[in-house]
C-alpha cells in the first residue's frame, strides 16, 4: 500500500514539475488523432478533440488544486475560529453556533454546493464560494470538540491561574494543541474536495469547457464510453489514484501523531 501511494504521489509531483519547468499547452488539438488509445508517445491516449489526455489531466489537477487550496484556507480558518470561540467561550454564543451548524448539516453531501452552484454562474470564483459554504462545518465541529478537551487540561488551567488572558490562552495554548488534528482533518477534506469539485464539473455546474477540469473530462469521456473506454478509465483512475494517495497520507499523519478519535 505504502509503495503504491508513494508512487502515485511521485508520479503526479513529477508531472507538476514538468508543467512548471518545461511547460506545455494542453489545448493543442490534432484532428487526425481523435480518441487515440494509449501508446508510447501519448501514454494516456488522446481525447475527443485529439488533445493529449495526460497533459489535460495535469492542467485539470492544477485547476482543481487552485480551487481546493483557496476553499481549504477559507473553510479551515473560519471553521477553526468559529469552533474554538464556541468551545472556549461557551454560553449563548455556543448555542447559536451549534444551531447554525445543525442547520448546515441538514443538507446531505454536496447538495448545498449544488444549490449554490446553481444560482451562481459557472466559474472558478463561484465554484470556490459554492464549495466553501458548507465546508467550514466539519472544521468547526472538530475544533469545538477538541477545544472542550484541551480547555480542561492542567497546562491550560495552570496558565489561567497564573493570569493569562483569554486571547493569550487561545493563541498560546489551545490553537497549538489543535494544529495536528486540524491538519489531518484538512488532508481528508482535500480528498473529499477533489471528488466534490469533480462531481460539480461532472454535472456541468463547475468549470466550463474549454478549461481543463477533472469532472469535465469525466463527463466528456462517458459520452465516448462505447467507442473508446480507455478515456473514461484513465480519467477515472487518475482521479481515484489522487484521492487514494491523499487519504493514505491522512491516515499516515493520523497514526504518526497518534491522534485519538472522539
Amino acid at each position: 500500500m505504502k509503495q503504491i501511494a508513494l508512487t502515485i504521489i511521485l508520479f503526479w509531483t513529477c508531472s507538476l514539475i514538468y508543467k512548471i519547468l518545461i511547460g506545455f499547452d494542453s489545448s493543442v488539438m490534432e484532428v487526425d488523432e481523435i480518441l487515440f488509445v494509449p501508446n508510447l508517445t501519448y501514454w494516456f491516449g488522446k481525447d475527443d478533440f485529439g488533445r493529449d489526455i495526460y497533459l489535460r489531466l495535469i492542467d485539470g489537477f492544477i485547476n482543481s488544486f487552485q480551487i481546493i487550496l483557496v476553499v481549504t484556507l477559507i473553510t479551515s480558518i473560519s471553521g477553526i475560529l468559529i469552533g474554538v470561540l464556541s468551545g472556549y467561550l461557551g454560553g449563548r454564543l455556543d448555542q447559536v453556533i451549534k444551531f447554525v451548524t445543525t442547520l448546515f448539516m441538514s443538507f446531505p453531501g454536496i447538495l448545498l454546493a449544488i444549490a449554490f452552484a446553481a444560482i451562481l454562474s459557472p466559474g472558478k470564483l463561484n465554484l470556490i464560494i459554492a464549495l466553501s459554504i458548507g465546508g467550514w462545518v466539519g472544521y468547526a465541529r472538530l475544533a469545538r470538540a477538541q477545544t472542550l478537551l484541551v480547555k480542561e487540561q492542567d497546562f491550560v488551567k495552570a496558565s489561567q491561574t497564573m493570569g493569562s488572558s483569554k486571547s493569550r490562552t487561545v493563541f498560546r495554548h489551545i490553537l497549538p494543541a489543535l494544529s495536528t488534528p486540524m491538519i489531518v482533518e484538512a488532508t481528508y477534506a482535500v480528498a473529499g474536495l477533489i471528488i466534490a469539485e469533480a462531481s460539480l464539473s461532472f454535472l456541468g455546474l463547475g468549470l466550463q469547457a474549454p478549461e481543463a477540469s477533472l469532472g469535465g473530462m469525466m463527463r466528456d469521456s462517458v459520452r465516448y464510453l462505447l467507442a473508446s473506454p480507455h478515456y473514461a478509465i484513465i480519467v477515472g483512475a487518475s482521479i481515484m489514484s489522487m484521492v487514494f494517495a491523499i487519504n493514505f497520507f491522512g491516515d499516515f499523519l493520523h497514526k504518526f501523531w497518534g491522534i485519538k478519535d472522539d
Binding site: 445543525t102 443538507f107 446531505p108 453531501g109 454536496i110 461532472f202 455546474l205 473506454p229 482521479i239 481515484m240
Partner: protein
C-alpha cells in the same frame, strides 16, 4: 426525545428558508436570468407576478409557506405546469432506486462483515477487506462507467442506461450500493470483532451454546445497534450519490430532475427538489435517532 423533535422541526424550517433564499440570491434580475434578455416586457411582468417577486419579502415568505402547507409546489417555468406530478414521479423513481441500493448494501454488507469477522485473518477476510477498501474510495462517477463497461458492454447482460425494462435499475442501484456496502462491511466487521471478545459471548460459550446459536442470537442483535447508526449516516451519501448516478444513467429521479432544472434555469423546480431531498434527509436522521434509542436501552437515559 422532545429536544430531538424540536431540532428536526427547526432544521426543516431552516431548509425551507435557505431554499426560499435561492431565488433571491441570484445575481441580477431572476426573471431575466430565467427568460433570457430577449423576453418581452409583458411576459417578464407575467412571470414576475406568478413568482410573486413583485410583492414584499415577508408577503412572499408567508405566501410560500401557505402554498406548501396545501401541498402546492408551484409551477414549472419551462412547461408551465404544476410541479407536483413531475416531482412525485421523480420521488417514486428515486425511492425505487435508493431502496434497492440500500437493501443490497445492508444484506450483503451485513453478511460480508460477519463472514470477515468470523474468519478473521483468513483468505476470505483479506479479500473482503481489500475489496471494500477499493469500493470506499471509488467515486460514483467512475464506478458507474466501470460497471457499464463490465456488465453491459463486455458481458452484455444489462442495458447501458435509461429506464426501459425491469433490469435497467440494477446498474444504477449497484453504483449507489457498492460504496455503502463497503462501509457497512467495515463497520460490521469492527463491531463484530468487539462483540466476539465481549462478556456476553463468552458467557454464552461457557453455557455451552452452539456456534450458530451464538452468532444468530447474541452477536446478530448486538451488531444491529451500531449498524442502524451507520445506515442512517449513509443516507446522506446515498442522496448526493443519487444526483450523480441518476444523471449518469438517465434515471428520471429527483437527482436528475434537480440537475436538469438547474441547466434549464427552472428555479421553482430546483427549489422543490432541494426542499424534498434535504427534508427527507432530516426525516431519516430523526428516525435513525429514534430507532437507536429504542434498540439500545442504555441510550434512553
Amino acid at each position: 426525545m422532545l429536544k430531538l423533535l424540536l431540532t428536526s422541526v427547526c432544521q426543516i424550517f431552516g431548509i425551507f428558508f435557505i431554499t426560499f433564499l435561492i431565488l433571491h440570491l441570484i445575481p441580477g434580475d431572476p426573471v431575466l436570468v430565467m427568460m433570457g434578455e430577449s423576453a418581452s416586457l409583458a411576459d417578464q411582468e407575467k412571470l414576475r407576478s406568478e413568482l410573486g417577486l413583485d410583492k414584499s419579502i415577508v408577503e412572499q415568505m408567508t405566501n410560500a409557506i401557505s402554498q406548501l402547507a396545501q401541498g402546492n409546489f408551484g409551477t414549472s417555468i419551462l412547461t408551465n405546469m404544476p410541479i407536483k406530478p413531475q416531482l412525485f414521479d421523480a420521488i417514486n423513481n428515486t425511492y425505487a432506486l435508493a431502496s434497492l441500493a440500500l437493501s443490497i448494501a445492508i444484506i450483503f454488507g451485513f453478511i460480508g462483515g460477519i463472514l470477515a469477522a468470523k474468519y478473521q485473518g483468513s483468505y476470505i477476510d483479506t479479500c473482503i477487506i481489500n475489496a471494500s477498501l477499493f469500493f470506499i474510495s471509488i467515486p460514483h462517477f467512475f464506478l458507474g462507467p466501470l460497471l457499464i463497461l463490465m456488465m453491459s458492454i463486455y458481458l452484455g447482460w444489462l442495458p447501458v442506461s435509461g429506464m426501459e425494462g425491469k433490469y435497467a435499475i440494477i446498474l444504477p442501484a449497484l453504483t449507489l450500493a457498492l460504496g455503502m456496502l463497503a462501509i457497512i462491511i467495515k463497520m460490521t466487521r469492527n463491531s463484530m470483532l468487539e462483540i466476539i471478545n465481549s462478556d456476553v459471548v463468552r458467557t454464552a460459550r461457557a453455557k455451552g451454546l452452539g456456534e450458530l446459536a451464538i452468532t444468530l442470537h447474541h452477536m446478530f442483535r448486538l451488531v444491529l445497534i451500531p449498524l442502524i447508526t451507520i445506515i442512517g449516516m449513509q443516507f446522506g451519501s446515498l442522496l448526493s450519490g443519487a444526483v450523480i448516478t441518476e444523471t449518469l444513467f438517465s434515471w428520471d429521479g429527483l437527482g436528475k430532475l434537480l440537475v436538469t432544472s438547474i441547466q434549464t434555469r427552472d428555479y421553482p423546480v430546483t427549489q422543490a427538489c432541494i426542499l424534498i431531498i434535504a427534508t427527507s434527509y432530516v426525516f431519516i436522521n430523526f428516525l435513525t435517532e429514534v430507532a437507536y434509542r429504542f434498540l439500545d436501552p442504555r441510550m434512553r437515559h
